[in-house]
């Protein structure tokens, strides 16, 4: 090293600054806690918190639910993006992402990070407040609706009496967001795209809402008299029991109408005007980049999820499995409600030995075998070990959930997500298969076919209800 080498860098490096910051927080926190403990303020503070919390439990619960819902949307969107990439790839005889993370699972996360890291700029000439708020409005319109969807018995964000009405009101804000985006970008193509998208979405809102009237009529007529038929939790409860209780069997036409209208509402192929990239540029979001565009992107995927979730809630039995599990549990010697503390090991009988002996190897073989078949570079030992770890992870997660909530909640959540993501997969498969419908054909279809069909459905349902109530009971 010559004497004329660069002088040693002084000052704290970035890593050093982070560590020092964390240390400062720890030291300050320790000092604070010590002081509180010593002076007796600590216990007073704790008491006050508990009292206030108990007094305002509803508000706290709502805040917790809203936070949970918001936090849920991002991972859900990531999962849906990954599903889309992989399923469309398989249908295209391709592989899809398989480098970032195992089986490319981190690809959507990386896409999100990429979108975050882009330059955030405001083009010249735009209407700045409207331009800035448009993504937020669109995103919130999608996210707010998750508050009323029942994920499991006892687990909805908020049980509103007018849940369905609130759902449609909140998701209708999405149109406002689209128009704001199209108008405020100082760009003819954005304006055209925004107007087209708004026209399409508004046209399909009517069949969407009218399609649900049949379900509401049935819920009001044959459900319990004290709850409002718009209460989504109650609608799900009405479909308890066996599969044929689901409203899909009582309202097949409404299900079809609702699903088609939902495809258009979400802006999915074959009705995807918001992302018709082989037509006029990029539609209403031409002038957006970075995280602003990311918000639109997320909003669309969350929209897909909530519309699937609503379809499941209204027509496909919500979180109900569709079979009565009491006999199955009885076979194993347990009864519902299945609390962890209520399982008496003695009552299990021979299953006490069989379950720990058989379940771990079976799960390990299943996971390990799948991994070995799919991952060509992994030997059998590596696959089995990783399979064992994954199986343990899964079982641990399930049991934790069971312990925190209840067995019904666990089952309900699994069933609900299974059905919702199944419908999301259906949306994705439709995207891979169909070309786009032209906008005038699309509006034609909505106004001349779907809406009359929905009205017809309402008439038939109402007529059937009257006949059944008057003459058959």
């Amino acid at each position: 090293m010559s004497a004329a080498a660069t002088p040693a860098p002084h000052g704290v490096s970035l890593t050093g600054k982070i560590i020092l910051g964390l240390l400062a927080i720890v030291v300050a926190g320790a000092l604070g806690f010590f002081l509180l403990w010593v002076t007796g303020l600590g216990s007073a503070l704790v008491e006050w918190t508990v009292d206030t919390g108990e007094a305002n439990i509803e508000i706290l619960r709502f805040v917790a639910a809203a936070t949970g819902v918001l936090l849920f949307t991002i991972p859900a969107a990531f999962v849906i993006i990954y599903m889309e990439l992989k399923i469309i790839a398989q249908m295209n005889m391709r592989v899809g992402p398989d480098r970032t993370g195992p089986f490319g699972a981190l690809a959507s996360l990386m896409a999100g990070l990429k979108v975050l890291s882009k330059e955030d700029y405001t083009p010249r000439g735009v209407d700045v407040p409207v331009y800035t708020l448009a993504p937020a409005v669109t995103f919130l319109a999608s996210v707010l609706t998750l508050l009323v969807i029942p994920f499991a018995p006892g687990m909805a964000g908020y049980y509103m009496e007018l849940g369905l009405l609130y759902f449609f009101a909140a998701s209708g804000l999405g149109v406002v967001g689209l128009m704001m985006a199209g108008w405020s970008s100082f760009n003819k193509y954005s304006l055209l795209g925004g107007i087209r998208a708004a026209a399409a979405v508004i046209s399909y809102e009517l069949p969407l809402i009218l399609g649900t009237f049949g379900v509401v009529l049935l819920a009001g007529a044959f459900g319990p008299a004290d709850t409002s038929p718009l209460n989504l939790g109650q609608i799900v409860e009405n479909q308890a029991g066996w599969v044929w209780n689901w409203y899909a069997f009582q309202q097949p036409l409404a299900l079809i109408i609702f699903f088609i209208a939902a495809t258009a509402e979400a802006g999915r192929t074959p009705f995807d005007y918001t992302e018709a990239d082989s037509e006029l540029v990029a539609g209403f979001a031409t002038e957006y980049s970075g995280m602003r565009f990311g918000f639109f992107f997320f909003a669309e995927y969350v929209n897909v999820f909530i519309l699937s979730a609503l379809t499941v809630t209204l027509f496909l039995g919500g979180y109900h499995l569709g079979v009565d599990i009491d006999p199955i549990l009885g076979f194993f010697g347990v009864t519902t409600p299945l609390e962890m503390s209520s399982i008496d090991p003695g009552s299990l009988g021979p299953w006490l030995l069989a379950i720990p002996l058989m379940v771990p190897p079976v799960l390990t073989l299943a996971f390990g075998g799948l991994l070995w078949m799919v991952k060509s570079g992994w030997g059998i030992i590596k696959s089995l070990v990783v399979g064992f770890l994954l199986a343990n992870l899964l079982v641990g997660a399930l049991f934790t959930f069971w312990a925190l909530f209840s067995f019904e909640a666990l089952l309900g959540v699994l069933v609900f997500f299974g059905k919702s993501f199944g419908l999301v997969a259906l949306f994705v498969m439709m995207r891979a298969t169909y070309p786009r419908v032209r906008i005038d054909q699309m509006m034609n279809f909505a106004w001349k076919w779907l809406m009359p069909a929905a009205l017809l459905n309402i008439f038939i349902t109402a007529g059937a209800i009257i006949i059944i109530k008057e003459y058959l009971s």
């Binding site: 082989s278 070309p435 786009r436």
Partner: protein, 407 residues
């Protein structure tokens, strides 16, 4: 060098911003019209606006700018602006050898470049009145038909992609992948083959090519059927293409459309039958013709042509004689002064060359007549009055390749 560079000032400079009128954001800057038609086009009626289907666009099959005058969703008029891919191929051909012309014309129809290579080759052979060995002729036909199938598979995929369907193009690319791999075994290249030579072809077929070809032929019919069935009966696709861009016989002849757009109107004009060249007179194949003239008919015609090409390949493989693959030619090829017009049937239509020689080894004039150029001219009359979304369907169904249009 003598001109001084103007001080380039940024638009963010406040002085500049004040002086710069908002019209700089217009898609079409106000210009002084050079011709009557331009003046007519650039006058805006009530409620109309100009929109650029700009040179960068996912579905203009290359770099093509179309200035649209639209009234809401309806297209009132359009003006295609070309030249973004103009490479001066005709001029460059005049400055090189007759053999250089083969490499120069390769990138003209880059999706199926055996056809564009064939132009200098066939016209030089006509000028010289040269006899090509029969084996070379058969190999040429094989290469042409394979290129035709790969280009049509790509066309089907492009048409679907422009309409929003994501899957058929990947099926098309799977087909194209296999064909391109076998042609790479034959020629050493995957896209711009540089395979045709004046007097024959560059090299004989080899074992790898034949084995890949045999493998592929076994599956080809089924897979093309798969790709076709995905779209033939698809309600959405049919609704978007049926009755759209209807070309009638008169218009097709007047605009000199050729290839599938012409045969879809009922005119059975195929250069392989009208002006037979190479060994096509000895091969049995039909010319598929449809009478509807709309985009859907053109799409179905492409599928019919793929089936006919498979038939031709089958016959060629059975009938190929032995022999040399290249005629004897002097090293320095001087062609006596003469004129010749050579036409071939490419996947897009009639590809022709008018060659004038002057006794030296350089072409004197090498004119390339590209079918996409004339097919694209019809986009104007066909699209007036249609909706914005239809311009894609119409343009994609005419199968333009900008390399040939812009030369």
């Amino acid at each position: 060098m003598t001109a001084d560079r103007e001080q380039i000032r940024s638009l963010d400079d406040p002085e500049v911003m004040v002086q710069t009128p908002a019209t700089i954001y217009d898609a079409i800057p106000p210009l002084t019209p050079r011709t009557e038609r331009e003046a007519e086009f650039y006058e805006l009626g009530d409620g109309e606006m100009f929109v650029n289907l700009g040179p960068q666009h996912p579905s203009t099959h290359g770099v093509l700018r179309v200035v649209l005058k639209i009234d809401g969703e309806k297209i009132v008029d359009l003006d295609p602006v070309m030249g973004y891919l103009h490479r001066g191929v005709e001029k460059i051909c005049e400055y090189g050898d007759w053999h250089h012309a083969i490499s120069n014309t390769d990138p003209l129809e880059y999706a199926a470049s055996m056809f564009s290579e064939a132009l200098p080759v066939l016209s030089a052979e006509r000028l010289l009145d040269l006899e090509v060995p029969r084996r070379a002729d058969y190999i040429r036909v094989l290469a042409w038909e394979l290129n035709r199938i790969s280009s049509h598979a790509l066309f089907i995929g492009w048409l679907a992609l422009d309409l929003g369907g994501l899957t058929p193009i990947l099926y098309g690319f799977a087909e194209r992948d296999e064909i391109v791999e076998m042609l790479a075994a034959l020629t050493g290249q995957k896209l711009l083959f540089n395979y045709m030579r004046i007097g024959g072809v560059n090299g004989d077929v080899n074992h790898e090519f034949l084995s890949r070809l045999g493998d592929w032929m076994g599956r080809a019919a089924v897979r093309i059927n798969d790709q076709a069935t995905l779209m033939n009966e698809n309600e959405i696709f049919v609704n978007r293409t049926k009755g759209l861009g209807v070309v009638d016989r008169e218009m097709a002849l007047q605009y000199h459309m050729s290839g599938p757009p012409l045969r879809a109107t009922g005119v059975p004009y195929d250069v392989r039958r009208a002006h037979p060249y190479s060994v096509y007179p000895e091969l049995e194949f039909d010319i598929p013709v449809r009478t509807d003239g709309d985009s859907y008919a053109r799409y179905l015609l492409h599928i019919d042509e793929i089936k006919q090409s498979l038939r031709i390949i089958d016959q060629v493989l059975h009938q190929m004689p032995d022999g040399p693959v290249m005629a004897k030619l002097p090293r320095l090829l001087r062609i006596p002064p003469n004129r010749a017009f050579a036409a071939i049937e490419s996947p897009r239509g009639q590809y022709a060359a008018y060659a004038v020689s002057d006794g030296s080894d350089q072409p004197f004039r090498f004119r390339i007549h590209d079918p996409s150029f004339f097919n694209l001219q019809a986009v104007g009359p066909l699209t007036r009055g249609e909706l914005l979304a239809d311009i894609m369907a119409i343009m994609a169904s005419l199968d333009p390749i900008m390399g040939g249009i812009d030369k």
